[in-house]
Symmetry: C2
Subunit: 332 residues, 2 copies
DNA sequence: CTGAAAGCGCTTACAG
DNA sequence: CTGAAAGCGCTTACAG
């Protein structure tokens, strides 16, 4: 696999490599005669020339690579957002490197190092618990970074997220209006701020009413088992109950519990889930859910990062996008 | 974001860049005194040195990058396999570039060019219809490539796939034994060989019996609509019927049709689907499915590619892995 | 045990 | 309108 270089073209077209470089890059201002231009292009075509981006990167000190670190790529939410980010990145001439750290701070750190060695021009990251140290290192190096979905409590970073608290308030209000006697919030036992926002938003509204609310919090692993176990302990079908699943994983685990136990929705219990996923559509009843604006999140994150790359500003913008409640038929 | 280089270390440690390079790469044989070794490592640590892989790639003519082109990353099958491939690649010291061509040969071609410019050492590809031209170009350049999941009719390429025909035969036999009066094969109207194998394997067995079989073939877009439309036209609940969905997308579309029309499984109709997906588990009954050995496919494809990279052989091995029928409770 | 030098494939300021 | 030359950050054969 010997590949042609600019030097080969220069030799065959009997010009200097500088001239070849100029015509290949279509630089205006440095006028090359139409004749030599044609000749060079022809030779390039003939010997099947492919530019070596690595050499270009080295010289330009820009790789046109960006790195994306998601918390878990096997999660539909992240794989969909990764795909949109890839499209947006390509529009701006970037190639995307995707890494999944699977909620593991060690792996997160390794990915930042890998990307850094690979000379990415910037990174879009979904921070995980205990990733602060790795992130602080990037900040000290003035590495352009932008957060997506999640954000950090103690570090102000440019990024895009949704109105987690407000959308949960909205769901809570919606449920309160329907006169349930019991509400169940299903969330994670975590310190991730965006998830706490979802929880706090929901509970804020409850405080003002006298409806009883139960909290089910699971670890980030064994979600299915923990949700099953806790729903079994807490779900009282003699009460008029509504459940709010604050993530797609929790929603899927919960729906599976209901299926397994032949609990009918919304006849026996009502529910609202978070995120859209294909799986919701195979559930016997229409699941109402909170939809995040994935495409917009992707677009804005890439735009923010591109800004950071071209004009570094540690106090960059934090953008809050609006999630949308998709009312279908799982609450009555 | 000014980054330290080997030169900076050399200056501060008062040695040559060559010496720095040697100790950083731990090369045996070129013994550097323990004292200078320590000094260099210390300086590197102090100034927070990160190696520039781009420079190394240029010099070594190896990027340690591999490219993966899947047909559609929004498909669980491909996103899961991509994830496994990433892990396997990393084990061998490669960084993975992922691209999805969305069944579009133009996009496929663009991705091969992009990866080629990015100097990937090799590519793992899932060919799409009309991608032959782009692939032939890679072959002419002796680019190390390996196919995964799919393969090409007219081009012999190393790669890994499953026993598509045999597993379909097995499913067919399984259904024939249960004495259905009607079988429905749901597949794609396509020329992709691996899908034709699934179809032919299934029909091969039917020929030998006198059970009636209907074929439902959809385009690759609007799967949901087409499956609904054709199931409506062809599904006769007065007969004892079993349906075989030959992909996860088809399975999901079909299950959704059954849900929407309140058709019970397996009471009203029996079915077997292809691939495992979370969505199957939210269906009101247990879906029997064909499970592909994703992790093994990923591992073997990376191994094959690594072989190709280190020792190019256009007549490389084609590896056929065994899919597994997971019998649950959707056939009676 | 250590260093000077060439070179990977590009770009670009400068000179002519 | 075109070219010679320097340099991006590395590695390594060679010399000492």
């Amino acid at each position: 696999m010997k590949r042609a270089s600019i030097k080969d073209i220069a030799r065959l077209a009997e010009v200097s490599v500088a001239t070849v470089s100029y015509v290949l890059n279509q630089k205006e201002g440095s006028r090359i005669s139409e004749a030599t231009r044609k000749r060079i292009l022809e030779v390039a075509q003939n010997i099947n020339y492919t530019p070596n981006k690595i050499a270009k990167s080295l010289k330009m000190r820009k790789s046109k690579l960006i790195g994306l670190i998601v918390a878990d790529i096997s999660n539909d939410f992240y794989s969909n957002i990764a795909r949109s980010i890839e499209d947006e990145a390509m529009k701006l001439g970037y190639t995307l490197l995707i890494g999944s750290c699977d909620e593991n701070p060690e792996k997160f750190k390794r990915l930042t190092e890998l990307f850094s060695e690979q000379q990415v021009d910037g990174m879009i990251i979904a921070p995980v618990v205990d990733s602060d140290e790795a992130i602080n290192k990037l900040i000290r190096e003035e590495y352009p970074i932008v957060t997506i979905d999640r954000y950090l409590k103690n570090i102000d970073l440019p990024g895009v997220m949704i109105n987690n608290s407000e959308i949960s308030e909205q769901i809570c209000d919606y449920l309160l209006k329907k006169n349930f006697t019991e509400l169940i919030y299903v969330g994670y036992d975590t310190e991730l701020p965006h998830l706490l926002d979802r929880e706090n938003g929901f509970e804020k509204r409850i405080e003002k009413s006298d409806v009883k609310v139960k909290r089910i919090l699971t670890g980030i692993h064994n979600i299915t088992e923990e949700v099953h176990h806790q729903l079994k302990a807490n779900l009282d079908l003699s009460k008029k109950t509504a459940i709010y699943f604050s993530s797609n994983k929790l929603g899927i685990a919960g729906l599976r519990y209901l299926i397994d136990n032949e609990i009918k929705v919304p006849a026996d219990v009502s529910l609202v889930a978070f995120d859209e996923t294909e799986a919701y559509y195979l559930f016997p009843s229409e699941v109402s859910f909170v939809q995040q604006p994935l495409a917009e999140m992707a677009r804005e994150s890439v735009k923010l990062l591109d800004n950071q790359i071209n004009n570094y500003n540690p106090k960059g913008e934090r953008m809050i996008l609006q999630a949308k409640f998709m009312e279908r038929n799982s609450v009555e």
